[in-house]
Symmetry: C2
Subunit: 274 residues, 2 copies
């Protein structure tokens, strides 16, 4: 399958222009799967609940999902993108997948980063994998990558490629994704944004690191984008490599897991662990 990302620098609050820019870029290429950045229509550095509420939209009934679902139907492709999703009184930092039949589903970010905790509700969807004609697609959003549970659960659920909309400001992710892919024998497409937002008088500006990346099942960096420029890029991925979890003739990295000894992973330790 031919899969990739569109990296660009959304303008804060200019949802229509950001959507148009993405539609233009996505319309002029041929591919099976493309991933857009986290919160690609709104921008990232919100300053009030009112602002988040005003800029967020319903899924699938809002204009962004209407447009991208139409495009994915027209092109017969899959599109994954990050969006501020309004659901009644709650707003989620979500990622949506659309395909040849239109809107397919929504994942709500599990691990919120930094001030996102002020504006968004913690994700309640859990991790999801979509079994499509081009392969099994899982989704995680930005900081989810830091928690090994995220990519692990998606891989246990059968994901062959992880679509990873991001707004990265820390330096760790591009060099960390090889470990996530190696340990799970899975592909990942990290679609990050570029640019700087400086919307608080009393807080420091946020500079997004670009460096969107396609990472292979052996932990190899197949392609890494620049830190600053717009870029649309695709690679041919052989998902057969993600289907076999055989590591050698004696080890299979999924079958060798020992869930009988892993109980601590699901204990709720929030009351006694700092």
């Amino acid at each position: 399958m031919k899969a990739g990302f569109y990296q660009f620098g959304p303008v804060f609050g200019d949802t229509g222009a950001n959507l148009d820019k993405a539609l233009n870029a996505l319309s002029s290429e041929e591919y099976d799967l493309i991933v857009l950045p986290e919160l690609f229509t709104t921008g990232y550095q919100f300053t009030s609940e009112e602002e988040v509420s005003y800029l967020s939209e319903k899924v699938p009934d809002g204009p962004t999902t209407a447009s991208l679902a139409r495009l994915s139907v027209e092109k017969g492709c899959y599109i994954v993108y990050g969006i501020a999703e309004k659901d009644g009184e709650q707003i989620f930092n979500s990622a949506v997948i659309c395909g040849p039949d239109g809107y397919m589903g929504t994942y709500r970010k599990t691990h919120l980063f930094f001030e996102e905790t002020l504006w968004f509700s913690p994700g309640n969807s859990g991790f999801k994998v979509w079994d499509t004609e081009i392969g099994r697609i899982g989704i995680m959003v930005c900081f989810d990558w830091f928690y090994p549970e995220s990519a692990r659960i998606l891989s246990i659920m059968g994901a062959e490629v992880i679509a990873h909309p991001s707004n990265l400001v820390l330096p760790y992710c591009p060099d960390g994704m090889p470990m996530r892919c190696l340990e799970n024998s899975v592909y990942a497409i990290t679609a990050n944004r570029t640019g700087t937002e400086d919307r608080h008088e009393d807080k420091k500006a946020l500079t997004f690191i670009g460096s969107s990346q396609i990472t292979g099942t052996k932990g190899e960096i197949i392609h890494r984008a620049s830190g600053t420029n717009d870029e649309i890029h695709f690679e041919e991925l052989d998902l057969e490599l993600a289907r076999s979890k055989d590591f050698n003739q004696y080890n299979n990295i999924m079958k060798d897991r020992r869930p009988d000894l892993y109980g601590k992973l699901t204990d709720d330790l929030n009351d006694d662990n700092s």
Copy 2:
């Protein structure tokens, strides 16, 4: 605390000489914690069950643990080492911890690698952390590192430093341990061996990669040994850095975990997941 490793090349089957070499090296230094390689008395590339049975020994009643427990009492220090542990009909690839009061406990390797699956029983101890006067010490053995569950569980249990006896032949671990330490905000001391074993006429030789490593809580490589030489090395570790799991003013990497959404991690999928 002053902690480190002793990297050397055990001679296969020469358990007495390997133990003496380690005792000499460990006796002439001052430290709080030292880690020795996996299977440091026996060597690694067994050729028959009889051989494994002959070279393995009881814990704590065997000669290796008797000697190292005596040394740790004399020096008032902690020693972690890998050993072929005989327990009735079963033999485990284990790691033992001794301290100022002698023998403290045994961890049995959870994730066996390659032909180890022929010679050893899968570990049944689960992961363990020892709360000592110098800090909380967790243990994993070699290939355990590849499974993110291992270091994660030890960190959830409160480990501040992970002692990691190893016999690494693959290239991934030294560059992978930074992710393990970063994602858990924990120190790790990977004690690997050097040398080559070529004990099968019809199988390829195994070359151990040395490169023992002390990795810090931010994923920094504090020290990495050479690939080939004997080396005893220590660093001063500030375990306070491993106690706080605050990542920034909004995120705590342990409290932000979402065990309510992590159920898949403990599902037994061996019957339907390949």
